[in-house]
Symmetry: D2
Subunit: 185 residues, 4 copies
């Protein structure tokens, strides 16, 4: 049973709502141990514990918040070079579409790559006009159907990759289980 | 009278629709000479001619299309190091929000920086949930009101910066002319 | 026995030299099937065949060359959504340090993420002042000791992750086999 | 007489050494008012004061340090939307080449674009193998000749663009004053 950490910073609860949905998606495959932790409560141990992580931040000035960054710069730094090979992905909310949420996800996956993680986005569309190729993103809180699906799908995909690559369950591969990439709607 | 080039590649007409709106925005201030040129017809001379450029590409596999890139790699390469100091910005359409349009704009502004250009995004929101902080982006063709405004605003802002910095009209500065950053709606 | 593709575009042979070294590194663990293919000769079948890929491009105007991009835009596009879950990494040469090779690697890993790949960089330093956190990079041809090591290490790490995650050989994990992160020199 | 702010965060003095060199370059044209301020001492007023800024950060985990980010997230946030149109550029030191300094510069210029700044890199090479296309970068402290030149050139170019675009001195344009792009060495 692989272990998933959903680690996030949230200021106005938009990102914490996403985080809860990501955690739900991570649990949806039924065979993952999932921890949902805000960066204010997180310790290095949380990251050591997990096999895979979804990291979320509000988009502040086009990239991760300083509060999230501080965790990677300070709390986790003694473990740099000792936790390679975990899996990781990103999510972010911004004030508006075009406001930098993709760039924030890019910074997060860059941070995870720096720690030696294998990172991914998701090919699937969650509505005709919404996808999460570089991580789940949304404008403001994830209240729309597509927004909920995007966060949920990110957690689900993380669970699927861990099932395949950590737990050795090849039948969990999305190429086998996925029924559609772009929903008919 | 400063000169603006709107240069774009389009495969399915989504980006060419944006380009037309960007050109309209560039003309809206009334004192710019504007050329709208697809990359298939563009020559190096177009770039030499202009004081500022808005460059658009469809988001293909999360970044600029090879057709647009070819123009910068081949057609323009003899002028590298000889056209520094122009102004530039970016726009892109993708299949869906979260599909990489911000990353495409980032690649475009990186390409322009490589040629020595000064690049910018736009602070303004064009609806409560839509902005163009790193360039104008949209999911599919720009048919919605916010999508039209985003493209238009990009061209307008380019015209404003050229008015201020090339034509020396300080009264055209958006901090003076702009009435609102986030529309009341 | 997992399968590794080293796919590259090269104009002045700098990137093809890197590619040969990456392929050598990929073979160094002794249990991988390795193909070294230039993008001019590559077909979609090469990508379908592999479990993991190292993709290399010269840094042209701060990002991937149009020739490499064309392969991902055209040759491979029919397989989008059908090849998720492979592993990938990047390498690039540029005219000089600070010339955009990291940005090129970033574009390449973004392209691979778009196709559903799990991507990574390498934590290890190959000399006191050289590492490959986002892919192996170099200024011009990889003739220096550190440059050769960087390319070699990238291929080796790809082989190690495939050994661990595709072939299920947990003893190949770099956290077990790696003796040092920063060489004493 | 235009005003230049060199704003930086430094932990081990590598970035502060760069900052001093950037400030020196900014003064080298003889007609700029230059402030050199560490982020610990900086207030929002510093940014309001300047016409152009060079922002420096150590590369921590592949992007800006949390300390620098905090300034942009908190200290400056009340002025978002009120300081558009300034000019900006970036510099960074990392532990090694390939360690993310280009990505850090990219994050910095993204942050500046978010505040409505016009950002740039430098076309010039400072040695056969070193340039600063996306900002000045170095592995560790800038002690080598090329490293000193890169920081110096960044400040100089910022001064030149401000001379041209803010002070209206067209004769200061690098296309006029620059004697070579790649030094003969």
């Amino acid at each position: 049973m692989a272990k998933i950490l959903v680690l996030y910073h949230s200021l106005s609860d938009c990102t914490s709502e996403m985080a809860a949905l990501v955690a739900e998606g991570a649990k949806s495959t039924g065979d993952m141990d999932v921890r949902l932790v805000s960066v204010a409560e997180a310790t290095a141990e949380d990251m050591l514990w997990c096999d895979g992580v979804a990291v979320g931040s509000p988009t502040h000035i086009g990239t991760v918040s300083w509060q999230l960054k501080k965790y990677f710069d300070q709390d986790l730094i003694d473990h740099w070079g000792k936790i390679d090979g975990k899996f990781g992905c990103a999510f972010s909310t911004s004030g508006g579409w075009g406001g930098g949420a993709e760039l924030t996800c890019q910074t997060i996956t860059n941070m995870l790559m720096n720690y030696g993680f294998l990172v991914f986005g998701v090919v699937d569309y969650v509505s005709r006009n919404h996808t999460l190729h570089y991580g789940a993103i949304n404008a403001k809180a994830p209240r729309e159907s597509y927004a909920k699906k995007a966060s949920h799908r990110l957690g689900q995909r993380l669970a699927e990759w861990l099932a395949v690559y950590v737990d050795g369950k090849k039948e969990s591969h999305p190429l086998i289980t996925r029924t559609e990439i772009v929903p008919a709607e």
